[in-house]
Symmetry: C2
Subunit: 495 residues, 2 copies
Amino acid sequence: MSDGCCEETHKDSHYSPGYYWLGNDTLKVPLVLHRENRQRLAKSILTSKDKDSIEPNSFVLFQAGKSTTAYDTDHEPLFRQEKFFFWAFGSDMPDCYGVVALDSQENPTSTLFIPRLPAEYATWLGQIHSKEYYKKIFLVDNVEFADEMTAYLKNLNCSTLYTVAGLNTDSHNHTEPLTFKGIEEFKVNTTLAFPYVAECRVFKTPKEIEVLRYSVESTCKSHMQVMRKIRPGMKEYQCESIFLYHAYHDFGCRNVGYTCICAANKNSSVLHYGHAGEPNASTIRDGAMCLYDMGAEYHGYTADVTCSFPANGKFTEDQKIVYNAVLDASQSVIKAMKPGVEWIDMHKLAENRILSGLLAGGILVGSLEELVENKIGSVFFPHGLGHLLGLDTHDVGGYQGDAKPKVNSLRTTRSLIENMFITVEPGCYFIDHLLDQALADPSKARFFNRDVLARFRNFGGVRIEDDVLVTATGCENFSKMVPRTVEEIEAYMKH
Amino acid sequence: MSDGCCEETHKDSHYSPGYYWLGNDTLKVPLVLHRENRQRLAKSILTSKDKDSIEPNSFVLFQAGKSTTAYDTDHEPLFRQEKFFFWAFGSDMPDCYGVVALDSQENPTSTLFIPRLPAEYATWLGQIHSKEYYKKIFLVDNVEFADEMTAYLKNLNCSTLYTVAGLNTDSHNHTEPLTFKGIEEFKVNTTLAFPYVAECRVFKTPKEIEVLRYSVESTCKSHMQVMRKIRPGMKEYQCESIFLYHAYHDFGCRNVGYTCICAANKNSSVLHYGHAGEPNASTIRDGAMCLYDMGAEYHGYTADVTCSFPANGKFTEDQKIVYNAVLDASQSVIKAMKPGVEWIDMHKLAENRILSGLLAGGILVGSLEELVENKIGSVFFPHGLGHLLGLDTHDVGGYQGDAKPKVNSLRTTRSLIENMFITVEPGCYFIDHLLDQALADPSKARFFNRDVLARFRNFGGVRIEDDVLVTATGCENFSKMVPRTVEEIEAYMKH
């Protein structure tokens, strides 16, 4: 007697035939999303300049992540799927492969190869499902065992395997070598497919957009819980725990896209604070500026939102100077964003607005033109304005398409195109070693009002980060629900 | 002008000179704990049968974990330190090395080698500290840069480096190869040190015991929050989020020692439920048996506690049969544990008590002797009674010392010795494929009452897991605060 409800009808878990869903009010994601991605990929290759080089019976081959253990132990860190594979198949199972046949622009044949699980899997890890079960869930044409992949592909007279392998322009890491037992029996092309897959990932489909909207809104609501509950005297990590709790408990987001940055006091000037070496462990002081950069992930798609606010809910005049300079940058960029706009220009616009605010606040002196010319912007705003966002926090494709040559600190130099999803995250920080460098350089030092600057040395920093979709005529800010103006933040935090 | 408070006096973060502490009511851990571990190691080698083979100017060499990124991306999973290195040095920094000179039984010279950080580290990741700063924090004799390790050791006329390398008997993985640029200039012994380090890790010092007591009590209190808040209709993962929140928010435990197993309904018969493939995603049914196996980690030391209870707070008569059989096993073992007792005998004792309970409940028929002889125990209790616990969930050393030959499913076959810390986790599960196998085997089938068994097919399972220190005269159960008897659980969950 087996639990019939689980095998063939609705499985009361995260996957059911054609859907990913965590129940209650969480988003029900149709897995046809991934079939559409496979279709987009086949179409993009079969209509490209490379189309005539594609042989019959050829396949694009994806490799899932492998299950791992920590060091020499049997501790298995919570598995997170490789994102190229996930984009194409939507499965969170380790040790799989998947192929998309280049046999049709509209309806390419897809096969998922799953590991053959030993009988004791059922004792330790869960029910062993049939191939048919996975076929129904993931809406693929075939499911086979991974150890039969070579025989299966040979039987189909496979001519060429196009592996998804390439360079990540943020990490400068190459994808891991894609291999399987028997791969040497096939012709393998390791270069053609990657840019097509990466370019497809840059543009989000309506179904992907709905998942991203859910991740971002879940993230915003969890940020707002932190803003309601924070009090001076708490530890930074307690705010992290509040965010993680709501993202998971209320919205089903078990993972975050990146380690939570929960910086108070001067720590808000450390751009990627919060890692194991700086684990959000300071006590939040009264009067401190807080910078919370946290993004929840749902069905693999992550948000990336930053809220900055005073720990006690009331801005000082100095905090208003810096905050409003960054807010001006954010609002100016979002107002200007639309297809055709150059991202480099948006970065410059943000930098100009921040510098203008620092001029108005008396921290800097001189003309805006002189400040720009002497690169004062990157003293306060040393990172890029934003990055593509999707399955990865720093999503792929920033240096493809019409990208201009690499600009220091910018993660993309493309012009905007409809359905790009990108963060807008201007920031202004008081970072000792960058200020000291600038003050030691006569060409820069003359623009600083040292007396005023001294007041800000322990200020920390401000970052305002939104997740923005480029639309046909402009853009849509998915994270607009968080309180953003000084007045909105003070009113919200009063409660 | 730099933030003077951070550099030389108290740093308002997790480490300060000689201590790890997360503030407020969390435990302040004296880092002399790790100096004691280094001393224990030197003494154990220098008083061993191998002592005459140890050359002057020789060192035991430890290697910290390396910082990593996920797949090809720049996403850095939250770093977790390699536990042999952590045991000896207590530092959570990646990319370090450490040596303990075998120059003294009582006060061996220790040196920590840290990575040389680039200037931009200060912009992105945090303040760059001096060697002197780390020396004061970690109570080592010297701190040097890792890229100068070869020169430093040559300058000390290093004769032999004993690397900490060996086989993990739970994972059957070997430690990662320990290497550094220049290692070929030294004589390296890769076999001698490992069993000494592993054996030292088996026995907990008073300072380690206090950390473990804190981790276990924090874990128990977080479990109890789940027991108070659980309601039928909730998702299993919502209970996970409650545990994680309290462990982190209330007790500073950012990590868990292993992925939370939050099983309700029939899922409680999947021993390691909760992984990415079975992500605690079912809806908790009214009347379901729940099995929550979760352990919080503080300063690297982890708890491992399981609570089983009915989702609605009220046991059915059938649930009492199974629960009380397991509780009887747990209580009988804890009562019997003391130095000299064989762990294999404790496993057999637990199995006998469970089988007795199933006989009394009418699920099995026959005599206890026949059931044992025909291996009915492992149909219901297919895992070992428990495992050593410490920095790793399955801590090292289970098959050293006086260990008897490997017994299927047991993680140790040693006899108990004072200051061993070990889990006691009897369980009873109704696992379809094990029951089906047994019913198909005539030598086993005759002991089952099929009519009664049918009632239990969708029961799931029960595990009761405590974390127990072996004392001079018996043992101390660190997790005794969680409600354990049927009456205690029902009374506690009423509120």
